[in-house]
């Protein structure tokens, strides 16, 4: 059960290999977290994350192979996960990947795949879990969006547009969940130094998985519906969204 300070005892991660997810769970393990289910595509990444979480003091960690693009199984996986944990206090949606988006290398298939992994897949999984959680009567869904989706940039417009879609979906879902006992918190990190961005040039105001995790825990405690990491990005993007397109497209990298 979640406590009044927003701290969960059980959590499921969709995209269980995510650095940000792992850093978040490690912080939550210092509080009340005792059981976790990690869902993801790579057994290796999941096992490694599970090992780390056990080391961080989570009593019960299970892993399960699940690809968010496998829509037809989402509801079944949600059902099994809730059965395993008893109640699911927190669903952390961290699936996604950052591919090359330059016009020269993309093709219809890679665009469709990137959008599926960053938007339609996570959206489908969120649907499955929120419907299951409605029956348990409560639950917090935390979804990793990105500032890339707040205003889509030329250099990563495929990823950015998928995150824009996911961000909008999460907002709508949160509105639809009013008074159900469930709620959605959207996390919008800037550039995060992680596995996903390995080898990429860092953008200004870049951050780390640990810092994003800290912002997520703070957001859970304050009951936030949107969390920016770092928080100053809220003001920066408050201005950037109004920049004329002509100027915005000059923004490099």
């Amino acid at each position: 059960m979640n406590d009044v300070t927003g701290m969960p005892q059980t959590a499921v991660v969709i995209g269980g290999g995510s650095d940000i997810a792992l850093a978040t769970l490690r912080l939550l393990a210092k509080r009340r977290l005792r059981a976790v289910v990690l869902l993801g595509r790579s057994a290796e990444a999941l096992n490694e994350a599970a090992e780390q979480l056990r080391g961080a003091g989570v009593e019960e960690v299970t892993t399960e192979i699940f690809d968010v693009n496998d829509f037809s199984h989402a509801s079944e996986v949600a059902e099994e996960t809730v059965a395993r944990l008893g109640t699911v206090d927190l669903v952390l949606v961290a699936a996604g990947f950052l591919g090359d988006a330059s016009l020269e290398v993309i093709d219809p298939e890679s665009v469709a795949h990137m959008i599926a992994t960053n938007f339609t897949g996570p959206a489908a999984a969120m649907t499955a879990f929120s419907q299951r959680l409605l029956r348990q009567g409560f639950g917090r869904i935390v979804v990793l969006s990105s500032v890339a989706g707040v205003r889509v940039r030329r250099s990563n417009f495929v990823y950015g547009s998928a995150k824009a879609g996911l961000d909008g979906f999460a907002q709508g879902l949160d509105d639809a969940l009013v008074k159900t006992g469930l709620s959605v918190m959207i996390v919008r990190p800037g550039f995060v130094h992680s596995k996903m961005t390995l080898g990429l040039k860092a953008a200004p105001m870049s951050t780390t998985p640990e810092a994003v995790a800290g912002a997520i825990v703070k957001g859970l405690e304050s009951g936030a519906s949107v969390v920016w990491a770092p928080s100053s990005l809220m003001w920066v993007f408050g201005i950037l969204v109004h920049l004329p397109r002509r100027l915005w497209r000059l923004v490099p990298g």
Partner: protein
């Protein structure tokens, strides 16, 4: 999208809503039928527990306010038989004019008798008269096997597990309560100001035995030399001779009116770092340094906050929590630590309540024990609050104290056994009457009193 016939429930702290099927039975028979058809449920009264004690996410909340009759009253012994959903307010409206009052009352009259028993509530007279369980002749408890009558002499084990048992032994439907005779509906009150925490504790320790009722309102916000400055109010029921004029002509009357209310939840908490110091300071300086024999009405003395309906809304959309703990005598430093730790975390708290408890009772989950109890209302939302309260828990448990489950929304589950050492006795009793683990609340799952998964529940062993 919302599953049919469910409602969202919150505690008095207005947070952590969870949904459950809402049922409002009218009698014991309907409750027994409800138990038959549920997989998990918990009884609920007027929702004054601050946390999640009367919530049952995904299960059934049995709203007992539909059972609110006063069934019988014996004017010679003062024993009243009431349905569990009857509120203390309703009971006082009936009994005070007849010269009787509840022997123990918490700080609000808007609790049901059933809820008061399930939390084994205490009042300002605990140092002399104990908690409410000591005044119960018997009660009717609906368990999965059907209704049972229990009392101190009739299945005492189940009776004591029910008092303070947070609804986990069954649904209380009727209570026979021994009232206390009173000559007037007024109190004669002495007020004193204490300049700091030590002075306050000294005054309480040396003077409490002279008063039936005693409590200190502590300013938990002020730091430094005046830390823990307090206004101490103590008194007893006034004698008729102490009353003047119209009061003397109608010495027994109880008809408080709620004139003010908070009509909506403001977008931010009205209780915050800006407003609190002002309020706390006004409270302290408004009080006389020393005043004796002031005549106050019962509602002003016992239920000052009841005058403002829905006052919990003042804490805004994020709500608030109350941290109430008790530590044995000799562990006064933990009281100071708690105040200082919350100050250090910049978590403002409104007027705290400090009081001395007398002896506890045999109920395994009852909160009071001889010592100091401190209660602080704290707005939620501060990122440093959770860790600060965790630290307080550790000190409280280390000192041999405990936190009050009726107020709790966040305690460390691993300290439950330390704080309530008779927990196994409690769980054994629960297992005897409710082997399938039908009675489950969000609180019981959160602190590990009941398992969370259905499979665990089937094979539950104490």
């Amino acid at each position: 999208m919302i599953p049919g016939d469910t409602d969202a429930f919150v505690g008095w702290g207005n947070n952590n809503a969870t949904r459950a099927v809402h049922r409002r039975p009218r009698n014991t028979k309907e409750i027994a039928a409800l138990l038959e058809g549920s997989s998990m449920c918990i009884a609920r009264g007027l929702g004054r527990a601050y946390g999640d004690a009367a919530q049952c996410a995904g299960g059934t909340v049995i709203d007992c306010t539909g059972l609110s009759e006063i069934l019988a009253f014996d004017g010679s012994s003062g024993v009243v038989r009431v349905e569990a959903g009857c509120s203390l307010d309703q009971l006082s409206r009936y009994s005070v004019s007849r010269g009787w009052f509840v022997p123990v009352t918490p700080g609000t009259a808007f609790v049901t008798i059933g809820g008061a028993v399930a939390a084994d509530v205490h009042g300002k007279n605990h140092h002399r008269e104990g908690s409410i369980a000591g005044y119960i002749e018997e009660l009717c408890l609906v368990t999965p096997d059907g209704p049972r009558i229990v009392g101190p002499d009739r299945d005492p084990e189940l009776f004591w597990a029910t008092c303070g048992g947070m609804g986990l032994t069954g649904v209380i439907t009727e209570v026979a309560l021994r009232l206390m005779p009173i000559a007037t509906s007024y109190l004669s009150v002495d007020t004193d100001r204490a300049r700091d925490l030590d002075a306050c504790m000294e005054m309480l320790a040396s003077g409490d035995e002279r008063y039936r009722y005693s409590v200190a309102w502590i300013d938990a916000g002020t730091r430094g030399r005046a830390l823990g400055r307090a206004v101490i109010t103590r008194g007893d029921h006034a004698r008729v001779e102490a009353l003047a004029g119209t009061q003397r002509s109608i010495p027994l009357t109880y008809n408080p009116v709620q004139r003010l209310s908070v009509p909506f939840t403001p977008p931010v908490s009205m209780v915050n770092a800006l407003t609190l110091p002002v309020f706390n300071s006004l409270w302290y300086h408004r009080a006389p340094k020393h005043r004796t024999d002031e005549i106050q009405t019962m509602s002003a003395f016992f239920y000052p906050l009841d005058m403002l309906r829905d006052w919990n809304r003042l804490y805004g959309p994020r709500g608030f929590t109350q941290y109430q703990m008790v530590v044995p005598f000799g562990q006064e430093h933990v009281v100071r630590y708690t105040i200082e730790r919350l100050q250090e975390a910049s978590c403002p708290s409104t007027l705290g309540v400090l009081k001395r408890f007398g002896a506890g009772d045999p109920a395994p989950l009852s909160f009071p024990m001889p010592g100091w109890t401190l209660a602080l209302d704290i707005p939620l939302g501060s990122p440093s609050l959770a860790v600060a309260l965790d630290d307080c828990d550790r000190h409280v448990a280390g000192a041999g104290g405990r936190v009050y489950l009726a107020k709790d929304g966040r305690m460390r589950p691993e300290l439950m056994r330390e704080m309530y050492p008779r927990i196994d006795q409690f769980l054994e009793t629960c297992h005897r009457t409710d082997p399938d683990g039908l009675f489950v609340s969000d609180l019981s799952r959160r602190i590990g009193l009941t398992p969370t998964t259905p499979t665990q529940r089937k094979g539950m062993k104490p």
